[in-house]
């Protein structure tokens, strides 16, 4: 499998993770504004969380079941109430309407839900070009778009969900166990596609139980335990 060289790795971010009383806003070692910046994000289950994520960078989050990994992703997507601030390209989340934030910081649940009868009905006309061009990369074929969703396998639906999340061209992708239901070949295809997206400037936070996947995909691996993110 082709692995792109990681364009960015910043130890200083990791430092600020450990000493969370010192948020280092904006100015990182490279001087670039981070794509996603998280400051003192917290809710009942844990926090405060502080980290920066640059375009092309991937963070993997691991940890025991029930540690709140999904809750953290939902907080980042502004789907659950919380305190603290997050910025996208330096723009505070509170300065934009919630749908605008969520269409750029897209959260994909572990068991993605569908609200139409077929997968194809979930895509807009403008997204069809992307969908047709990307189906093959995930080992899917066009007939699956028109098939009733309950006839597709869990793995097919999970790959279609990834396609759905990518179709809106998000800046940051928050993936909750995106390949849990996939066979090894499909996992490799999905990872290749995601690595491709990273190379084009997307940032990804992936929650995964698979140690090997975390190592393959991520520049940094965090462990979420007891409401704190710990650098692996």
């Amino acid at each position: 499998m082709l692995l792109f060289s990681k364009p960015y790795r910043n130890l200083k971010d990791d430092e600020s993770m450990r000493h969370q009383d010192q948020p280092g806003p904006g100015g990182t070692a490279s001087g670039r504004i981070p794509l996603l910046s998280v400051r003192d994000l917290r809710s009942d289950f844990g926090g405060p969380f502080n980290f920066d994520l640059h375009g092309g960078e991937c963070i993997a989050i691991q940890g025991p079941s029930g540690a709140g990994k999904s809750v953290l992703l939902r907080m980042l997507a502004d789907l659950d109430p919380h305190e603290g601030e997050a910025t996208l390209d330096g723009r505070p989340r509170t300065s934009m309407p919630a749908p605008a934030w969520r269409s750029q910081v897209v959260y994909q649940a572990a068991e993605p839900a569908w609200w139409e009868d077929t997968a194809g009905a979930h895509f807009t006309a403008a997204q069809r070009t992307f969908v047709d061009a990307t189906l093959g990369a995930l080992g899917l074929d066009a007939a699956m778009l028109a098939a009733p969703l309950e006839r597709l396998s869990t793995g097919e639906r999970q790959r279609l969900a990834l396609l759905r999340s990518l179709a809106g061209a998000p800046r940051v992708l928050l993936l909750d166990e995106p390949t849990a239901a996939l066979d090894p070949d499909s996992v490799a295809r999905a990872e290749t596609l995601l690595t491709d997206c990273l190379a084009r400037g997307m940032a990804i936070i992936i929650v995964t139980h698979a140690e090997a996947q975390a190592r393959r995909m991520a520049d940094r691996v965090f462990c979420l335990d007891g409401g704190k993110l710990i650098v692996r």
């Binding site: 789907l79 309407p97 897209v106 839900a113 609200w115």
Partner: protein
């Protein structure tokens, strides 16, 4: 108007039917005789009290007494609406939504009728205001409780689908619109049924009452048509209000779905 007055013995004859009901239940062991007897006694006591209270209020024709009776009716209807759905909201939100919807829909339609179509003097004449409010509240109760139950159930059932849309940047209003429409439609079904069945399948209650009281059928029909329009208006207000207020209670300014505001 020449109504035939009923004496105690006339009622006793009809009461035999209740005893017959009970006997029928004891025979094949349906086990409902107790319920029927209790309900019958309760009904007699309730209606007798209402009759006495209304006689006093009508005789006094005071604004205060009329307002008190109507307020009591509104509170009772709101309580029914609030307790009907299986799902409950935090902070007595069920009661607040029900109270707001029942009061607004009830007062708006009854005041409209009193000031435009019926126009008694004084406008709050209890002989008109109280029965109008009563029949309107009956419809409002139906519509609001069905719509509230529908929207709360729907949101719980469809949570995953709504949040999947939110997560892709769909506005909450768009994601939840089908549920809102469904709940409003549900609330409107009873009044739609009553309107289409009126006169053919059933003789509506008010019309029956006025015919028995000796009113000319065409006049009775006019009253019934006015009432049907009032009921349709009140039902629509109540359904829309209940559905929208419930969505408001279960969402926040960041367009999140807040099921944490629901009691388990």
């Amino acid at each position: 108007m020449s109504a035939i007055h009923l004496g105690p013995w006339d009622l006793m004859a009809a009461a035999l039917l209740i005893l017959l009901d009970a006997a029928l239940s004891i025979g094949p062991r349906l086990g409902v005789h107790r319920q029927i007897l209790v309900a019958a006694v309760r009904m007699v006591i309730q209606l007798s009290i209402v009759g006495l209270v209304l006689r006093a209020v009508f005789a006094g024709a005071s604004a205060g007494a009329t307002a008190a009776v109507i307020l009591f009716m509104v509170v009772a209807a709101a309580r029914e609406v609030a307790t009907r759905p299986r799902q409950r909201l935090h902070g007595h939100m069920n009661y607040r939504i029900a109270g707001a919807v029942v009061a607004c829909a009830g007062f708006a339609t009854v005041l409209l009728a009193l000031t435009t179509a019926v126009r008694p003097t004084p406008w709050y004449d209890p002989r008109y205001a109280i029965p109008l409010m009563g029949i309107v509240l009956g419809s409002v109760l139906n519509a609001a409780s069905l719509a509230l139950d529908g929207i709360l159930d729907g949101i719980v059932r469809e949570r995953g689908r709504i949040e999947a849309q939110l997560a892709l940047g769909t506005p909450l209003r768009t994601a939840i619109a089908p549920l809102v429409r469904g709940a409003i439609r549900r609330g409107m079904i009873p009044v739609a049924n009553r309107m289409s069945a009126a006169g053919i399948i059933t003789l509506p209650g008010i019309m029956t009452g006025q015919l028995l009281a000796g009113m000319d059928p065409v006049d009775a029909v006019k009253y019934q048509i006015l009432l049907m329009f009032l009921l349709a208006g009140a039902s629509a207000l109540a359904s829309v209000g209940a559905a929208l207020l419930a969505v408001r209670a279960l969402s926040d300014e960041r367009q999140r779905l807040r099921l944490d505001r629901m009691r388990r």
